[in-house]
Protein backbone atom coordinates (compact mmCIF):
# COMPACT_ATOMS: atom_id res chain seq x y z
CA UNK A 1 0.00 0.00 0.00
CA UNK A 2 2.79 2.39 0.97
CA UNK A 3 4.62 1.62 -2.25
CA UNK A 4 1.52 2.36 -4.29
CA UNK A 5 0.77 5.57 -2.42
CA UNK A 6 4.27 6.93 -2.92
CA UNK A 7 4.01 6.01 -6.62
CA UNK A 8 0.75 7.96 -6.86
CA UNK A 9 2.25 11.00 -5.14
CA UNK A 10 5.29 10.84 -7.41
CA UNK A 11 3.02 10.64 -10.47
CA UNK A 12 0.91 13.60 -9.38
CA UNK A 13 4.06 15.63 -8.86
CA UNK A 14 5.26 14.78 -12.38
CA UNK A 15 1.86 15.66 -13.84
CA UNK A 16 1.88 18.97 -11.97
CA UNK A 17 5.37 19.80 -13.14
CA UNK A 18 4.60 19.03 -16.78
CA UNK A 19 1.40 21.10 -16.62
CA UNK A 20 3.26 24.10 -15.24
CA UNK A 21 5.94 23.82 -17.91
CA UNK A 22 3.28 23.59 -20.58
CA UNK A 23 1.41 26.60 -19.22
CA UNK A 24 4.58 28.64 -19.27
CA UNK A 25 5.20 27.63 -22.89
CA UNK A 26 1.70 28.49 -24.09
CA UNK A 27 1.12 31.72 -22.16
CA UNK A 28 4.32 33.17 -23.50
CA UNK A 29 2.85 33.11 -26.99
CA UNK A 30 -0.86 33.26 -26.37
CA UNK A 31 -2.98 36.36 -26.80
CA UNK A 32 -5.34 37.00 -23.92
CA UNK A 33 -8.61 37.98 -25.63
CA UNK A 34 -10.55 35.30 -27.55
CA UNK A 35 -11.37 37.79 -30.33
CA UNK A 36 -7.66 37.97 -30.99
CA UNK A 37 -7.45 34.23 -31.68
CA UNK A 38 -7.80 32.51 -35.03
CA UNK A 39 -8.45 28.75 -35.08
CA UNK A 40 -7.35 27.05 -38.31
CA UNK A 41 -8.31 23.45 -39.11
CA UNK A 42 -6.00 22.00 -41.74
CA UNK A 43 -4.14 18.88 -42.81
CA UNK A 44 -0.99 18.21 -40.75
CA UNK A 45 2.15 20.05 -41.89
CA UNK A 46 0.23 21.65 -44.78
CA UNK A 47 1.47 25.21 -44.27
CA UNK A 48 4.83 26.86 -43.73
CA UNK A 49 4.93 27.50 -39.95
CA UNK A 50 7.05 30.60 -40.62
CA UNK A 51 4.05 32.14 -42.38
CA UNK A 52 1.87 31.63 -39.32
CA UNK A 53 4.46 33.41 -37.19
CA UNK A 54 4.67 36.19 -39.75
CA UNK A 55 0.88 36.55 -39.75
CA UNK A 56 0.80 36.68 -35.96
CA UNK A 57 3.48 39.40 -35.91
CA UNK A 58 1.83 41.42 -38.66
CA UNK A 59 -1.72 41.38 -37.29
CA UNK A 60 -1.42 40.65 -33.58
CA UNK A 61 -3.76 37.66 -33.85
CA UNK A 62 -2.84 34.42 -32.12
CA UNK A 63 -3.20 31.36 -34.36
CA UNK A 64 -4.32 27.95 -33.07
CA UNK A 65 -3.46 25.36 -35.71
CA UNK A 66 -5.41 22.10 -35.41
CA UNK A 67 -5.04 19.18 -37.77
CA UNK A 68 -7.09 16.41 -39.39
CA UNK A 69 -6.19 13.48 -41.61
CA UNK A 70 -9.22 13.03 -43.84
CA UNK A 71 -12.01 15.18 -45.30
CA UNK A 72 -14.71 12.95 -43.89
CA UNK A 73 -13.31 12.98 -40.37
CA UNK A 74 -13.07 16.78 -40.50
CA UNK A 75 -16.65 17.01 -41.79
CA UNK A 76 -17.94 14.82 -38.96
CA UNK A 77 -16.23 17.03 -36.42
CA UNK A 78 -17.64 20.27 -37.80
CA UNK A 79 -21.09 18.73 -38.21
CA UNK A 80 -21.23 17.54 -34.59
CA UNK A 81 -20.25 20.97 -33.28
CA UNK A 82 -18.77 21.54 -29.86
CA UNK A 83 -15.70 23.06 -31.42
CA UNK A 84 -14.83 26.41 -32.88
CA UNK A 85 -12.99 26.59 -36.19
CA UNK A 86 -12.60 29.91 -37.99
CA UNK A 87 -11.04 28.45 -41.10
CA UNK A 88 -10.91 24.95 -42.59
CA UNK A 89 -9.30 23.43 -45.69
CA UNK A 90 -11.53 20.75 -47.30
CA UNK A 91 -11.13 19.23 -50.76
CA UNK A 92 -13.55 20.18 -53.52
CA UNK A 93 -16.27 17.50 -53.17
CA UNK A 94 -16.34 18.16 -49.44
CA UNK A 95 -16.91 21.87 -50.10
CA UNK A 96 -20.08 20.96 -52.00
CA UNK A 97 -21.18 18.61 -49.27
CA UNK A 98 -20.56 21.20 -46.56
CA UNK A 99 -22.37 23.90 -48.51
CA UNK A 100 -25.38 21.62 -48.98
CA UNK A 101 -25.44 20.86 -45.27
CA UNK A 102 -25.11 24.59 -44.47
CA UNK A 103 -21.91 24.02 -42.56
CA UNK A 104 -20.00 26.87 -44.20
CA UNK A 105 -20.66 30.57 -44.73
CA UNK A 106 -20.90 32.38 -48.05
CA UNK A 107 -17.80 34.49 -48.56
CA UNK A 108 -17.88 38.26 -48.87
CA UNK A 109 -15.64 38.85 -51.88
CA UNK A 110 -15.36 42.54 -50.94
CA UNK A 111 -13.19 41.50 -48.06
CA UNK A 112 -10.90 39.42 -50.28
CA UNK A 113 -9.16 41.90 -52.59
CA UNK A 114 -6.34 39.44 -53.17
CA UNK A 115 -8.70 36.95 -54.80
CA UNK A 116 -7.73 38.58 -58.12
CA UNK A 117 -4.29 36.98 -57.80
CA UNK A 118 -5.80 33.54 -58.45
CA UNK A 119 -5.58 32.06 -61.93
CA UNK A 120 -9.10 32.61 -63.40
CA UNK A 121 -8.96 29.15 -64.99
CA UNK A 122 -9.04 27.69 -61.49
CA UNK A 123 -11.94 29.79 -60.26
CA UNK A 124 -15.67 29.27 -60.71
CA UNK A 125 -15.51 25.48 -60.78
CA UNK A 126 -18.56 23.23 -60.74
CA UNK A 127 -18.04 22.22 -57.12
CA UNK A 128 -18.49 25.83 -56.00
CA UNK A 129 -19.91 28.13 -58.71
CA UNK A 130 -18.54 31.70 -58.57
CA UNK A 131 -16.54 30.65 -55.50
CA UNK A 132 -19.42 31.51 -53.27
CA UNK A 133 -18.00 29.48 -50.39
CA UNK A 134 -14.36 28.70 -51.09
CA UNK A 135 -10.98 30.03 -52.18
CA UNK A 136 -8.50 27.59 -53.76
CA UNK A 137 -5.45 26.90 -51.57
CA UNK A 138 -3.57 24.28 -53.58
CA UNK A 139 -4.56 22.19 -56.58
CA UNK A 140 -3.32 19.23 -58.54
CA UNK A 141 -4.09 16.17 -60.61
CA UNK A 142 -4.22 12.40 -60.46
CA UNK A 143 -1.60 10.63 -62.53
CA UNK A 144 0.98 7.90 -62.91
CA UNK A 145 4.36 7.96 -61.22
CA UNK A 146 7.09 5.64 -62.48
CA UNK A 147 10.68 4.76 -61.73
CA UNK A 148 12.89 5.09 -64.83
CA UNK A 149 15.26 2.40 -63.60
CA UNK A 150 12.47 -0.16 -63.45
CA UNK A 151 10.25 0.89 -66.37
CA UNK A 152 11.52 1.02 -69.96
CA UNK A 153 8.68 2.53 -71.98
CA UNK A 154 6.77 4.47 -69.37
CA UNK A 155 2.99 4.48 -69.76
CA UNK A 156 1.43 7.72 -70.98
CA UNK A 157 -2.16 6.56 -70.76
CA UNK A 158 -4.31 4.83 -68.17
CA UNK A 159 -4.96 1.85 -70.44
CA UNK A 160 -1.29 0.92 -70.41
CA UNK A 161 -1.50 0.08 -66.73
CA UNK A 162 -3.30 -3.13 -67.79
CA UNK A 163 -0.36 -4.31 -69.94
CA UNK A 164 0.93 -7.71 -68.80
CA UNK A 165 4.54 -6.43 -68.67
CA UNK A 166 3.73 -4.67 -65.40
CA UNK A 167 2.90 -7.90 -63.59
CA UNK A 168 2.93 -7.23 -59.81
CA UNK A 169 4.61 -3.88 -60.39
CA UNK A 170 1.93 -1.35 -59.55
CA UNK A 171 0.77 0.39 -56.41
CA UNK A 172 -2.82 1.57 -56.44
CA UNK A 173 -4.53 4.16 -54.27
CA UNK A 174 -6.87 2.99 -51.54
CA UNK A 175 -9.60 5.33 -52.74
CA UNK A 176 -12.79 4.19 -54.44
CA UNK A 177 -13.41 7.39 -56.41
CA UNK A 178 -9.88 7.53 -57.82
CA UNK A 179 -9.52 3.91 -58.89
CA UNK A 180 -13.06 3.50 -60.20
CA UNK A 181 -12.56 6.82 -61.97
CA UNK A 182 -9.53 5.51 -63.84
CA UNK A 183 -11.44 2.43 -64.99
CA UNK A 184 -14.31 4.68 -66.09
CA UNK A 185 -11.98 6.93 -68.11
CA UNK A 186 -10.50 3.95 -69.96
CA UNK A 187 -14.04 2.97 -70.95
CA UNK A 188 -14.82 6.46 -72.15
CA UNK A 189 -17.03 7.49 -69.26
CA UNK A 190 -17.04 10.41 -66.89
CA UNK A 191 -15.43 10.11 -63.45
CA UNK A 192 -18.80 11.23 -62.10
CA UNK A 193 -20.80 8.36 -63.59
CA UNK A 194 -23.87 7.45 -61.54
CA UNK A 195 -25.28 4.60 -63.62
CA UNK A 196 -24.93 1.31 -61.73
CA UNK A 197 -24.46 -0.90 -64.82
CA UNK A 198 -21.61 1.31 -66.03
CA UNK A 199 -20.02 1.18 -62.59
CA UNK A 200 -20.28 -2.60 -62.44
CA UNK A 201 -18.58 -2.79 -65.84
CA UNK A 202 -15.83 -0.50 -64.56
CA UNK A 203 -15.30 -2.76 -61.56
CA UNK A 204 -15.04 -5.72 -63.96
CA UNK A 205 -12.31 -3.89 -65.82
CA UNK A 206 -10.57 -3.02 -62.55
CA UNK A 207 -10.54 -6.69 -61.55
CA UNK A 208 -8.27 -7.37 -64.50
CA UNK A 209 -5.79 -4.94 -63.00
CA UNK A 210 -5.35 -7.15 -59.95
CA UNK A 211 -2.56 -9.30 -61.48
CA UNK A 212 -0.52 -6.13 -61.97
CA UNK A 213 -1.25 -4.86 -58.47
CA UNK A 214 1.37 -5.19 -55.78
CA UNK A 215 -0.58 -3.33 -53.11
CA UNK A 216 -3.44 -0.94 -52.52
CA UNK A 217 -2.14 1.77 -50.19
CA UNK A 218 -2.61 5.29 -48.90
CA UNK A 219 -0.09 7.96 -47.93
CA UNK A 220 2.58 5.34 -47.32
CA UNK A 221 2.89 4.87 -51.09
CA UNK A 222 5.45 7.68 -50.94
CA UNK A 223 7.70 5.60 -48.74
CA UNK A 224 7.41 2.60 -51.03
CA UNK A 225 8.15 4.39 -54.27
CA UNK A 226 10.94 6.46 -52.80
CA UNK A 227 12.60 3.20 -51.77
CA UNK A 228 12.19 1.61 -55.24
CA UNK A 229 9.75 -0.87 -53.75
CA UNK A 230 7.49 -0.75 -56.84
CA UNK A 231 7.95 0.39 -60.43
CA UNK A 232 4.69 2.29 -60.89
CA UNK A 233 2.06 3.98 -58.85
CA UNK A 234 -1.21 5.83 -59.23
CA UNK A 235 -0.88 8.99 -57.19
CA UNK A 236 -1.71 12.67 -56.74
CA UNK A 237 0.56 15.33 -58.20
CA UNK A 238 1.29 16.75 -54.76
CA UNK A 239 2.55 13.43 -53.44
CA UNK A 240 4.43 12.87 -56.68
CA UNK A 241 6.31 16.15 -56.21
CA UNK A 242 7.43 15.05 -52.76
CA UNK A 243 8.56 11.64 -53.94
CA UNK A 244 10.47 13.14 -56.86
CA UNK A 245 12.27 15.48 -54.50
CA UNK A 246 13.61 12.45 -52.65
CA UNK A 247 14.20 10.02 -55.53
CA UNK A 248 15.39 11.52 -58.82
CA UNK A 249 14.51 8.37 -60.77
CA UNK A 250 10.81 9.04 -60.33
CA UNK A 251 8.70 10.85 -62.94
CA UNK A 252 5.09 11.87 -63.06
CA UNK A 253 2.66 11.78 -66.02
CA UNK A 254 -0.88 13.10 -66.32
CA UNK A 255 -2.64 10.97 -68.97
CA UNK A 256 -3.82 13.39 -71.65
CA UNK A 257 -7.08 11.53 -72.30
CA UNK A 258 -8.40 12.69 -68.98
CA UNK A 259 -7.95 12.56 -65.27
CA UNK A 260 -9.14 14.10 -62.06
CA UNK A 261 -8.26 17.64 -61.02
CA UNK A 262 -8.47 18.33 -57.29
CA UNK A 263 -8.54 21.44 -55.17
CA UNK A 264 -7.97 22.05 -51.48
CA UNK A 265 -9.79 25.20 -50.44
CA UNK A 266 -10.20 27.71 -47.66
CA UNK A 267 -13.73 27.83 -46.25
CA UNK A 268 -15.21 29.59 -43.23
CA UNK A 269 -17.28 27.13 -41.17
CA UNK A 270 -20.57 28.13 -39.56
CA UNK A 271 -18.96 27.65 -36.16
CA UNK A 272 -16.47 30.47 -36.82
CA UNK A 273 -16.19 33.06 -34.06
CA UNK A 274 -13.64 35.34 -35.65
CA UNK A 275 -14.49 35.81 -39.32
CA UNK A 276 -12.52 39.06 -39.44
CA UNK A 277 -9.32 37.21 -38.65
CA UNK A 278 -10.30 34.45 -41.10
CA UNK A 279 -10.61 36.96 -43.97
CA UNK A 280 -7.36 38.59 -42.92
CA UNK A 281 -5.63 35.22 -43.02
CA UNK A 282 -7.00 34.24 -46.45
CA UNK A 283 -5.89 37.61 -47.82
CA UNK A 284 -2.52 37.19 -46.22
CA UNK A 285 -2.07 33.76 -47.80
CA UNK A 286 -3.14 35.08 -51.19
CA UNK A 287 -0.36 37.67 -51.24
CA UNK A 288 1.95 36.54 -54.06
CA UNK A 289 5.10 36.40 -51.96
CA UNK A 290 3.45 34.44 -49.15
CA UNK A 291 1.75 32.06 -51.57
CA UNK A 292 5.08 31.42 -53.25
CA UNK A 293 6.81 30.78 -49.94
CA UNK A 294 4.05 28.38 -48.95
CA UNK A 295 4.16 26.53 -52.28
CA UNK A 296 7.90 26.21 -51.84
CA UNK A 297 7.43 24.65 -48.41
CA UNK A 298 4.47 22.36 -49.18
CA UNK A 299 5.58 21.42 -52.70
CA UNK A 300 2.09 21.47 -54.25
CA UNK A 301 0.95 23.57 -57.21
CA UNK A 302 -0.29 27.02 -56.27
CA UNK A 303 -3.40 28.51 -57.90
CA UNK A 304 -1.88 31.95 -57.37
CA UNK A 305 -0.95 33.41 -60.79
CA UNK A 306 1.03 36.29 -59.32
CA UNK A 307 3.05 33.96 -57.09
CA UNK A 308 4.60 32.14 -60.02
CA UNK A 309 7.18 34.85 -60.66
CA UNK A 310 8.70 34.13 -57.25
CA UNK A 311 8.96 30.40 -57.89
CA UNK A 312 11.66 28.34 -59.57
CA UNK A 313 10.96 28.54 -63.36
CA UNK A 314 11.84 24.88 -63.67
CA UNK A 315 8.84 23.98 -61.53
CA UNK A 316 6.50 26.45 -63.22
CA UNK A 317 7.35 25.07 -66.65
CA UNK A 318 7.03 21.45 -65.60
CA UNK A 319 3.98 20.15 -67.45
CA UNK A 320 3.54 17.36 -64.94
CA UNK A 321 2.55 19.91 -62.29
CA UNK A 322 1.26 22.82 -64.31
CA UNK A 323 -0.29 20.91 -67.27
CA UNK A 324 -0.76 22.51 -70.71
CA UNK A 325 -4.10 23.75 -72.01
CA UNK A 326 -4.83 20.57 -73.97
CA UNK A 327 -4.55 18.32 -70.90
CA UNK A 328 -6.34 20.84 -68.71
CA UNK A 329 -9.37 20.59 -70.96
CA UNK A 330 -9.72 16.89 -70.26
CA UNK A 331 -9.41 17.14 -66.51
CA UNK A 332 -12.56 16.58 -64.51
CA UNK A 333 -13.49 17.66 -60.99
CA UNK A 334 -15.18 15.10 -58.73
CA UNK A 335 -18.79 15.98 -58.07
CA UNK A 336 -20.37 15.25 -54.73
CA UNK A 337 -22.42 12.16 -55.65
CA UNK A 338 -25.67 11.07 -54.00
CA UNK A 339 -24.96 8.89 -50.97
CA UNK A 340 -26.45 5.83 -52.60
CA UNK A 341 -24.09 6.13 -55.59
CA UNK A 342 -21.16 6.85 -53.32
CA UNK A 343 -21.99 3.64 -51.48
CA UNK A 344 -22.03 1.74 -54.77
CA UNK A 345 -18.55 3.04 -55.64
CA UNK A 346 -17.24 1.89 -52.29
CA UNK A 347 -18.96 -1.50 -52.29
CA UNK A 348 -17.61 -2.24 -55.75
CA UNK A 349 -14.14 -1.09 -54.78
CA UNK A 350 -14.23 -3.24 -51.66
CA UNK A 351 -15.17 -6.19 -53.86
CA UNK A 352 -12.21 -5.38 -56.10
CA UNK A 353 -9.84 -5.34 -53.13
CA UNK A 354 -11.14 -8.75 -52.05
CA UNK A 355 -10.30 -10.38 -55.39
CA UNK A 356 -7.23 -12.52 -55.17
Amino acid sequence: MKKLLSAVIFLLAVIGGLTLWNRQLTTSRQASSPTKTLVIYNWGDYIDPALITKFEKQTGYHVDYETFDSNEAMLTKIQQGGTRYDLAVPSEYTVTRMAKAHLIRPLDHQQLPNLQNIDPRLLNQSFDPRNKYSVPYFWGTLGIIYNDRLVKNPPQHWNQLWEPRFHKQEMLLDSARDMMGIALITQGHSVNTTDTATLVAAEQKLTHLMPNTRAVVGDEMKLYLERNEAALGVTYSGDAAEMMAVNSHLHYVVPSEGSNIWYDNFVIPKTAKNTKAAYAFINFMLEPKNAAQNADYVGYATPNRQAKKYLDPEIINNKAFYPDERTMEHLEVYKDLPRKVNQTYNDLFLKFKMTK
Partner: protein
Protein backbone atom coordinates in the same frame (compact mmCIF):
# COMPACT_ATOMS: atom_id res chain seq x y z
CA UNK B 1 17.92 -21.42 -8.11
CA UNK B 2 20.85 -22.26 -10.33
CA UNK B 3 21.33 -19.59 -12.97
CA UNK B 4 22.84 -21.87 -15.60
CA UNK B 5 19.65 -23.79 -16.24
CA UNK B 6 18.04 -20.75 -17.70
CA UNK B 7 20.70 -19.96 -20.24
CA UNK B 8 18.49 -21.16 -23.11
CA UNK B 9 15.69 -19.10 -21.70
CA UNK B 10 17.94 -16.07 -21.47
CA UNK B 11 19.10 -16.42 -25.05
CA UNK B 12 15.46 -16.66 -26.08
CA UNK B 13 14.58 -13.55 -24.11
CA UNK B 14 17.50 -11.69 -25.64
CA UNK B 15 16.35 -12.70 -29.12
CA UNK B 16 12.79 -11.53 -28.50
CA UNK B 17 14.07 -8.23 -27.13
CA UNK B 18 16.32 -7.70 -30.15
CA UNK B 19 13.38 -8.23 -32.49
CA UNK B 20 11.22 -5.90 -30.42
CA UNK B 21 13.80 -3.14 -30.48
CA UNK B 22 14.80 -3.49 -34.12
CA UNK B 23 12.25 -0.96 -35.42
CA UNK B 24 12.98 1.37 -32.51
CA UNK B 25 16.69 1.41 -33.25
CA UNK B 26 15.88 1.92 -36.90
CA UNK B 27 13.92 5.06 -35.99
CA UNK B 28 16.67 6.30 -33.70
CA UNK B 29 19.35 5.70 -36.32
CA UNK B 30 17.56 7.87 -38.86
CA UNK B 31 16.93 10.66 -36.37
CA UNK B 32 20.63 11.49 -36.81
CA UNK B 33 20.51 11.53 -40.61
CA UNK B 34 20.73 14.91 -42.27
CA UNK B 35 18.23 13.73 -44.91
CA UNK B 36 14.51 14.33 -44.94
CA UNK B 37 13.19 10.76 -44.81
CA UNK B 38 13.94 7.33 -43.39
CA UNK B 39 15.72 6.36 -46.57
CA UNK B 40 19.43 6.30 -47.29
CA UNK B 41 21.38 7.70 -44.34
CA UNK B 42 22.95 10.95 -45.51
CA UNK B 43 25.45 12.04 -42.89
CA UNK B 44 25.42 12.47 -39.15
CA UNK B 45 23.64 15.59 -37.99
CA UNK B 46 21.72 17.13 -35.09
CA UNK B 47 19.45 19.22 -37.36
CA UNK B 48 16.27 17.39 -36.48
CA UNK B 49 16.95 17.81 -32.77
CA UNK B 50 17.60 21.52 -33.25
CA UNK B 51 14.37 21.84 -35.23
CA UNK B 52 12.52 20.03 -32.47
CA UNK B 53 13.81 22.25 -29.66
CA UNK B 54 12.74 25.36 -31.56
CA UNK B 55 9.27 23.99 -32.23
CA UNK B 56 7.37 25.19 -29.15
CA UNK B 57 4.07 24.00 -30.62
CA UNK B 58 5.42 20.46 -30.81
CA UNK B 59 6.90 20.58 -27.31
CA UNK B 60 3.58 21.80 -25.98
CA UNK B 61 1.80 18.93 -27.75
CA UNK B 62 4.23 16.43 -26.22
CA UNK B 63 3.60 17.85 -22.74
CA UNK B 64 -0.16 17.64 -23.35
CA UNK B 65 0.24 14.04 -24.41
CA UNK B 66 2.27 13.07 -21.35
CA UNK B 67 0.00 14.80 -18.84
CA UNK B 68 -3.01 13.21 -20.50
CA UNK B 69 -1.47 9.72 -20.55
CA UNK B 70 -0.26 9.77 -16.95
CA UNK B 71 -3.44 11.26 -15.53
CA UNK B 72 -5.81 9.07 -17.52
CA UNK B 73 -3.81 5.94 -16.70
CA UNK B 74 -3.85 6.85 -13.02
CA UNK B 75 -7.60 7.45 -12.95
CA UNK B 76 -8.35 4.39 -15.04
CA UNK B 77 -6.24 2.27 -12.69
CA UNK B 78 -8.14 3.48 -9.63
CA UNK B 79 -11.57 2.97 -11.21
CA UNK B 80 -10.59 -0.30 -12.88
CA UNK B 81 -9.17 -1.78 -9.68
CA UNK B 82 -12.35 -0.92 -7.82
CA UNK B 83 -14.26 -2.51 -10.67
CA UNK B 84 -12.21 -5.71 -10.55
CA UNK B 85 -12.79 -5.98 -6.80
CA UNK B 86 -16.49 -5.39 -7.33
CA UNK B 87 -16.74 -8.01 -10.08
CA UNK B 88 -14.93 -10.53 -7.91
CA UNK B 89 -17.41 -9.84 -5.11
CA UNK B 90 -20.38 -10.81 -7.27
CA UNK B 91 -21.35 -14.34 -6.36
CA UNK B 92 -23.89 -14.95 -9.09
CA UNK B 93 -21.95 -16.50 -11.99
CA UNK B 94 -24.27 -15.23 -14.67
CA UNK B 95 -24.19 -11.68 -13.38
CA UNK B 96 -20.45 -11.74 -13.11
CA UNK B 97 -20.08 -12.90 -16.66
CA UNK B 98 -22.52 -10.29 -17.93
CA UNK B 99 -20.67 -7.48 -16.22
CA UNK B 100 -17.40 -8.78 -17.62
CA UNK B 101 -18.91 -8.80 -21.09
CA UNK B 102 -20.02 -5.19 -20.66
CA UNK B 103 -16.56 -4.42 -19.39
CA UNK B 104 -14.95 -5.78 -22.54
CA UNK B 105 -17.16 -4.02 -25.06
CA UNK B 106 -14.82 -1.06 -25.42
CA UNK B 107 -11.95 -3.47 -26.05
CA UNK B 108 -13.70 -5.02 -29.02
CA UNK B 109 -15.16 -1.85 -30.50
CA UNK B 110 -12.99 -0.31 -33.20
CA UNK B 111 -11.63 3.12 -32.31
CA UNK B 112 -13.72 4.91 -34.92
CA UNK B 113 -16.93 3.61 -33.38
CA UNK B 114 -15.82 4.53 -29.87
CA UNK B 115 -14.68 7.96 -31.03
CA UNK B 116 -17.83 8.70 -32.99
CA UNK B 117 -20.17 7.57 -30.22
CA UNK B 118 -18.26 9.51 -27.54
CA UNK B 119 -18.41 12.58 -29.77
CA UNK B 120 -22.18 12.22 -30.09
CA UNK B 121 -22.38 11.67 -26.35
CA UNK B 122 -20.35 14.77 -25.42
CA UNK B 123 -22.10 17.07 -27.87
CA UNK B 124 -25.46 15.73 -26.69
CA UNK B 125 -24.53 16.73 -23.14
CA UNK B 126 -23.20 20.07 -24.37
CA UNK B 127 -19.80 19.20 -22.94
CA UNK B 128 -17.03 21.47 -24.22
CA UNK B 129 -14.55 19.52 -26.32
CA UNK B 130 -10.95 19.83 -25.22
CA UNK B 131 -8.63 18.47 -22.57
CA UNK B 132 -11.39 17.20 -20.28
CA UNK B 133 -13.42 15.41 -22.93
CA UNK B 134 -10.24 13.72 -24.15
CA UNK B 135 -9.24 12.83 -20.60
CA UNK B 136 -12.63 11.26 -19.85
CA UNK B 137 -12.51 9.29 -23.08
CA UNK B 138 -9.01 7.98 -22.41
CA UNK B 139 -10.00 6.94 -18.89
CA UNK B 140 -13.07 5.25 -20.39
CA UNK B 141 -11.26 3.12 -22.95
CA UNK B 142 -8.42 2.25 -20.56
CA UNK B 143 -10.61 0.90 -17.76
CA UNK B 144 -11.34 -2.51 -19.34
CA UNK B 145 -7.67 -3.36 -19.82
CA UNK B 146 -7.00 -2.47 -16.16
CA UNK B 147 -9.82 -4.76 -15.07
CA UNK B 148 -8.43 -7.54 -17.28
CA UNK B 149 -5.00 -7.16 -15.66
CA UNK B 150 -6.18 -6.87 -12.05
CA UNK B 151 -9.00 -9.43 -12.01
CA UNK B 152 -6.85 -12.60 -12.23
CA UNK B 153 -4.78 -11.37 -9.26
CA UNK B 154 -7.92 -10.68 -7.25
CA UNK B 155 -9.22 -14.14 -8.05
CA UNK B 156 -5.99 -15.77 -6.89
CA UNK B 157 -6.09 -13.92 -3.58
CA UNK B 158 -6.64 -16.69 -1.02
CA UNK B 159 -9.87 -16.00 0.79
CA UNK B 160 -8.38 -17.64 3.85
CA UNK B 161 -5.83 -14.82 4.11
CA UNK B 162 -8.51 -12.17 4.39
CA UNK B 163 -10.43 -14.30 6.87
CA UNK B 164 -7.30 -14.73 8.92
CA UNK B 165 -6.89 -10.97 9.01
CA UNK B 166 -10.41 -10.58 10.30
CA UNK B 167 -9.82 -13.30 12.87
CA UNK B 168 -6.83 -11.36 14.09
CA UNK B 169 -9.12 -8.40 14.68
CA UNK B 170 -8.31 -6.35 11.59
CA UNK B 171 -10.90 -3.81 10.45
CA UNK B 172 -12.23 -3.94 6.92
CA UNK B 173 -9.97 -1.05 5.93
CA UNK B 174 -6.94 -2.76 7.47
CA UNK B 175 -7.74 -6.01 5.72
CA UNK B 176 -8.15 -4.07 2.49
CA UNK B 177 -5.00 -1.98 2.71
CA UNK B 178 -2.72 -4.61 4.22
CA UNK B 179 -3.93 -7.83 2.64
CA UNK B 180 -5.93 -7.19 -0.51
CA UNK B 181 -3.96 -4.32 -2.04
CA UNK B 182 -0.44 -5.77 -1.47
CA UNK B 183 -1.73 -9.03 -2.96
CA UNK B 184 -2.78 -7.39 -6.20
CA UNK B 185 -0.10 -4.69 -6.54
CA UNK B 186 1.54 -6.40 -9.50
CA UNK B 187 -1.77 -6.51 -11.32
CA UNK B 188 -2.39 -2.84 -10.56
CA UNK B 189 1.03 -1.87 -11.92
CA UNK B 190 0.45 -3.95 -15.05
CA UNK B 191 -2.93 -2.29 -15.51
CA UNK B 192 -1.38 1.15 -15.14
CA UNK B 193 1.27 0.50 -17.74
CA UNK B 194 -1.20 -0.96 -20.21
CA UNK B 195 -3.50 2.03 -19.72
CA UNK B 196 -0.53 4.31 -20.37
CA UNK B 197 0.17 2.41 -23.58
CA UNK B 198 -3.45 2.70 -24.71
CA UNK B 199 -3.49 6.41 -24.08
CA UNK B 200 -0.17 7.13 -25.82
CA UNK B 201 -1.17 5.07 -28.85
CA UNK B 202 -4.67 6.29 -29.42
CA UNK B 203 -5.42 8.35 -32.47
CA UNK B 204 -9.03 7.88 -33.60
CA UNK B 205 -10.84 8.44 -30.31
CA UNK B 206 -8.75 11.50 -29.43
CA UNK B 207 -9.30 12.97 -32.86
CA UNK B 208 -13.07 12.85 -32.54
CA UNK B 209 -13.40 14.19 -29.00
CA UNK B 210 -10.72 16.89 -29.08
CA UNK B 211 -11.13 20.56 -29.84
CA UNK B 212 -10.37 24.12 -28.80
CA UNK B 213 -6.66 23.94 -29.44
CA UNK B 214 -5.96 20.69 -27.60
CA UNK B 215 -3.95 18.17 -29.58
CA UNK B 216 -1.89 15.08 -28.87
CA UNK B 217 1.18 13.61 -30.46
CA UNK B 218 -0.72 10.78 -32.15
CA UNK B 219 -3.20 13.16 -33.79
CA UNK B 220 -0.32 15.32 -34.97
CA UNK B 221 1.64 12.38 -36.39
CA UNK B 222 -1.32 10.80 -38.21
CA UNK B 223 -2.43 14.08 -39.73
CA UNK B 224 1.10 14.62 -41.02
CA UNK B 225 1.02 11.33 -42.94
CA UNK B 226 -0.36 12.97 -46.11
CA UNK B 227 2.55 15.40 -46.20
CA UNK B 228 5.09 12.77 -45.18
CA UNK B 229 6.36 12.46 -41.62
CA UNK B 230 9.68 14.23 -41.20
CA UNK B 231 12.58 13.12 -39.07
CA UNK B 232 11.81 15.69 -36.37
CA UNK B 233 9.29 13.11 -35.14
CA UNK B 234 12.07 10.51 -35.07
CA UNK B 235 14.20 12.84 -32.97
CA UNK B 236 11.26 13.34 -30.63
CA UNK B 237 10.65 9.59 -30.32
CA UNK B 238 14.33 9.03 -29.60
CA UNK B 239 14.25 11.50 -26.74
CA UNK B 240 11.03 10.06 -25.35
CA UNK B 241 12.43 6.57 -25.59
CA UNK B 242 15.70 7.47 -23.84
CA UNK B 243 13.93 9.36 -21.07
CA UNK B 244 11.62 6.42 -20.38
CA UNK B 245 14.57 4.04 -20.43
CA UNK B 246 16.46 6.18 -17.92
CA UNK B 247 13.38 6.47 -15.69
CA UNK B 248 12.87 2.71 -15.75
CA UNK B 249 16.52 2.17 -14.88
CA UNK B 250 16.44 4.67 -12.01
CA UNK B 251 13.30 3.05 -10.67
CA UNK B 252 14.93 -0.35 -10.93
CA UNK B 253 18.11 0.73 -9.10
CA UNK B 254 16.04 2.48 -6.49
CA UNK B 255 13.73 -0.45 -5.84
CA UNK B 256 16.46 -3.11 -5.79
CA UNK B 257 18.61 -1.08 -3.37
CA UNK B 258 15.68 -0.78 -1.04
CA UNK B 259 14.96 -4.47 -1.49
CA UNK B 260 18.56 -5.38 -0.70
CA UNK B 261 18.50 -3.28 2.47
CA UNK B 262 15.33 -4.97 3.61
CA UNK B 263 16.87 -8.35 3.08
CA UNK B 264 19.91 -7.34 5.14
CA UNK B 265 17.73 -6.12 7.96
CA UNK B 266 16.06 -9.45 8.12
Amino acid sequence: MPQKRFSIGRIYLALVLIVMYLPIFYLIYYSFSSGERMDGFHHFSWVHYQALFQDTRMISIVLNTLVLALLSALLATVVGTAGALMINGIHNRLWRRNILILNNILLVSPDVIIGASFLIFFTFLGFKLGFWSVLFSHVAFSIPIVVLMVLPRVKELPKSLKDAAYDLGATRWQAFSQVTIPGITDGIMAGFFMALTYSLDDFAVTFFVTGNGFSTLSVEIYSRARQGIDLEINALSTIMFLVSLILVYIYYRFSTKKGAKRRLNQ
